[in-house]
């Protein structure tokens, strides 16, 4: 994650959780690093053992579903324009007309929170897609390459991971300037090593597995072998990483917006809403509370779902 970048191999929570745990360079590549940063391997709460939906997962999934609807079709949840200012009713408390109250310009907070989901979630998802895409590509490449190239790529991941996520993102923004696309680029680049390292370790395991060996014996062409047998099997940890990474990315986005580097006002992004609202906290708690609650609940939900996926993934590996 900016500090949020605040963005470690124990899966330690990065930011919100997923901290990529640095894999000590000395470690034998054979070791499977299934643990995802930021995710505690064991759920702290007593969780059900079976598969399928367990009770603790219903609430997070429901919340994420609502957030997804808000992001894709905000009109379904609110008919109010998030940018329509009404200075006469500025900083009005929650009421039947404005469920979440209004902000310092009299804009409806509920509508801004709902429309904000689109900004916050799409930035998070785009950053994760970028990081996971490039990270997987580089990870598989490193895992399949001869030793010298693998060393080179691994050291490259180490170097990128050396920069704290937030600072790396700030460096990118210093070069590109603020704005939505640049925030995606900044957070995406900062998260690439997390994915690349885990996928590389996974590739090592798959590459030495019996089915790949057999396919080689049968004389399968290398591209076919990689596409059909290696790739599908190294992608296992990806859903876990991506879910946790999305939480991290959302916190990072809100942090960058808070510093004024993200989507520019008047765009309703959760982080920039919080940044604007903090000056009015003493008179209008609702302007901080609702966007803050949305960020927090989204990240908690993603983390819970991610942990669940991780337990399933580890169960299968065992």
């Amino acid at each position: 994650m900016l500090v949020t970048f605040v963005a470690p191999v124990v899966f330690v929570l990065e930011g919100a959780g997923g901290v990529a745990v640095a894999v000590p360079p000395e470690e034998e590549p054979m070791t499977t690093i299934t643990e995802v940063p930021g995710v505690a391997a064991v759920a702290p709460a007593a969780a059900g053992r079976g598969y399928g939906f367990s009770a603790p997962l219903v609430a997070p999934l429901l919340f994420l579903a609502v957030a997804a609807v808000a992001a894709v079709a905000p009109g379904v949840l609110t008919g109010v324009d998030p940018l329509a200012a009404d200075p006469l009713h500025a900083l009005a408390g929650p009421s039947a007309q404005h469920w979440f109250g209004t902000d310092h310009l009299g804009r409806d907070v509920l509508s801004r929170v709902v429309h904000g989901a689109g900004h916050s979630l799409s930035i998070g998802a785009a950053a994760v897609l970028l990081a996971a895409g490039v990270g997987t590509l580089l990870g598989v490449l490193a895992g399949l390459s001869p030793r010298y190239l693998d060393e080179l790529l691994s050291r490259l991941f180490d170097v990128v991971a050396t920069f704290p996520e937030l600072l790396l993102a700030l460096l990118v923004i210093a070069i590109t300037g603020p704005g939505t696309g640049n925030v995606i680029l900044a957070i995406g680049i900062a998260q690439i090593p997390n994915y690349a390292r885990v996928i590389r370790a996974q590739t090592f395991v798959v590459r030495r597995s019996g089915y790949v060996e057999q396919a080689v014996t049968f004389g399968l062409a290398r591209p076919v072998l990689i596409a059909r047998h290696v790739l599908p099997n190294v992608l296992g940890p990806l859903p876990v990483l991506a879910t946790i990474g999305m939480g991290t990315a959302i916190i990072a986005t809100s942090g960058l917006s808070f510093l004024g580097m993200g989507p520019q006002p008047p765009s309703p992004e959760w982080g920039s809403m919080l940044s604007e609202a903090r000056n009015y906290l003493r008179v209008a708690w609702w302007t901080v509370f609702f966007p803050g609650l949305s960020v927090t609940l989204t990240v908690i939900s993603l983390t819970l779902v991610g942990r669940r996926l991780q337990r399933r993934f580890e169960g299968r590996n065992r």
Binding site: L2, T4, G15, A22, P164, L274
Partner: protein, 323 residues
């Protein structure tokens, strides 16, 4: 014969020590060099004329341009420029901020102290809270552990600046216990330190408790119990050591997190420090300053990680064997 074997073993053991230590130190230096190179490449990749980029939003005069060209050796071949840059870094010369019209080293050294204070306070809060939480809940009734797990989850899911805002609202605005902003002695460190430290407490608490719970299921725990040791002593004297190892691995991440997080938390609390400098430098496109901050944080990360790696060698003899 036996003497001979012994001597040889000793000799090997000494060499075995040296190898991994040298390798780790070398790796640290190599990563730093690569980080410096990466920062340099980032600067060169900025579209447009490098002189324009380095001037940023600062005063653009022919004299200034001549100074920049001389300082960065921009009239020489790319390889020479890069060599000059590395040489300057080695001498501790981080360049000039053309916006603030001061040496970058001078700016940073005047601003780094409040940030280091904040980071250390946060680390202290984080570690103490995590230890308290983990030691008091591990292996106890499961609802207690669940509660601790839940609070850790919430704490790591709230953006740190929001924690800062909420702490301000409660303890400064409402209760008036702490100053609202600025840097006025130790009291003003409490809330920012807490805002930054809570996340560390959350992450570290999870890792510690999980480690403790794993250790308590190990055969050695059963043995200790069968000797009639109290549960408290078992946790504090035996299990904690095992739980600490994975936590130590995270130290490097904590360093990076503290540096990055400090930037945001300083903005919330209006504290002077590297954060303010960095945010201004980023918005003003003050590239020499931004690069210097990034390099310093990389230096801090690599130094801490290398020390942790070396500490591991001292703690765990198995790692001393060269591969």
């Amino acid at each position: 014969m036996s003497t001979l074997t012994l001597t040889r073993r000793r000799g090997l053991a000494a060499a075995g020590w040296l190898g991994p230590v040298v390798r780790r130190l070398g790796a640290g230096v190599a990563v730093l060099w690569a980080a410096a190179t990466a920062a340099y490449l980032a600067l060169m990749l900025v579209p447009g004329d490098t002189v324009d980029v380095l001037v940023g939003d600062g005063l653009d005069t022919p004299e200034r341009r001549a100074q920049i060209i001389a300082e960065w050796g921009l009239d020489r071949s790319p390889l020479q420029q890069y060599g000059d840059y590395l040489l300057r870094l080695l001498q501790g010369d981080l360049g000039h901020s053309y916006i603030l019209q001061r040496g970058v080293g001078e700016i940073l050294s005047s601003q780094i102290l409040p940030t280091v204070q904040l980071a250390l306070t946060a680390a202290l809060f984080g570690v103490v809270l995590a230890l308290l939480l983990a030691l008091s809940t591990a292996g106890r009734r499961s609802w207690l552990g669940g509660l601790a797990g839940l609070s850790e989850l919430v704490v790591v899911s709230v953006p740190p600046f929001l924690i800062g805002i909420l702490l301000l609202a409660v303890f400064s605005f409402t209760l008036g216990w702490f100053p609202v902003s600025g840097d006025r002695g130790l009291v003003s460190l409490v809330l920012p330190g807490l805002a930054l430290g809570l996340q560390i407490a959350g992450v570290l608490g999870q890792v510690l408790r999980e480690g403790l719970e794993r250790a308590l299921e190990e055969p050695f725990a059963v043995t200790a119990r069968s000797r009639g040791i109290t549960e408290w002593r078992l946790v504090a004297r035996h299990a904690l050591r095992h739980a600490l190892l994975p936590a130590v691995t995270l130290t490097g991440w904590f360093t990076g997190y503290l540096l990055g997080g400090a930037i945001i938390v300083e903005a919330v609390f209006g504290r002077p420090g590297l954060g303010q400098v960095t945010v201004n430098a980023v918005t003003g496109k003050d590239m020499p300053l931004v690069m210097a901050v990034v390099l310093i944080s990389a230096l801090a990360y690599v130094t801490v990680s290398t020390i942790v790696d070396l500490a591991y060698l001292a703690i765990d003899p198995r790692l001393r064997r060269s591969r």
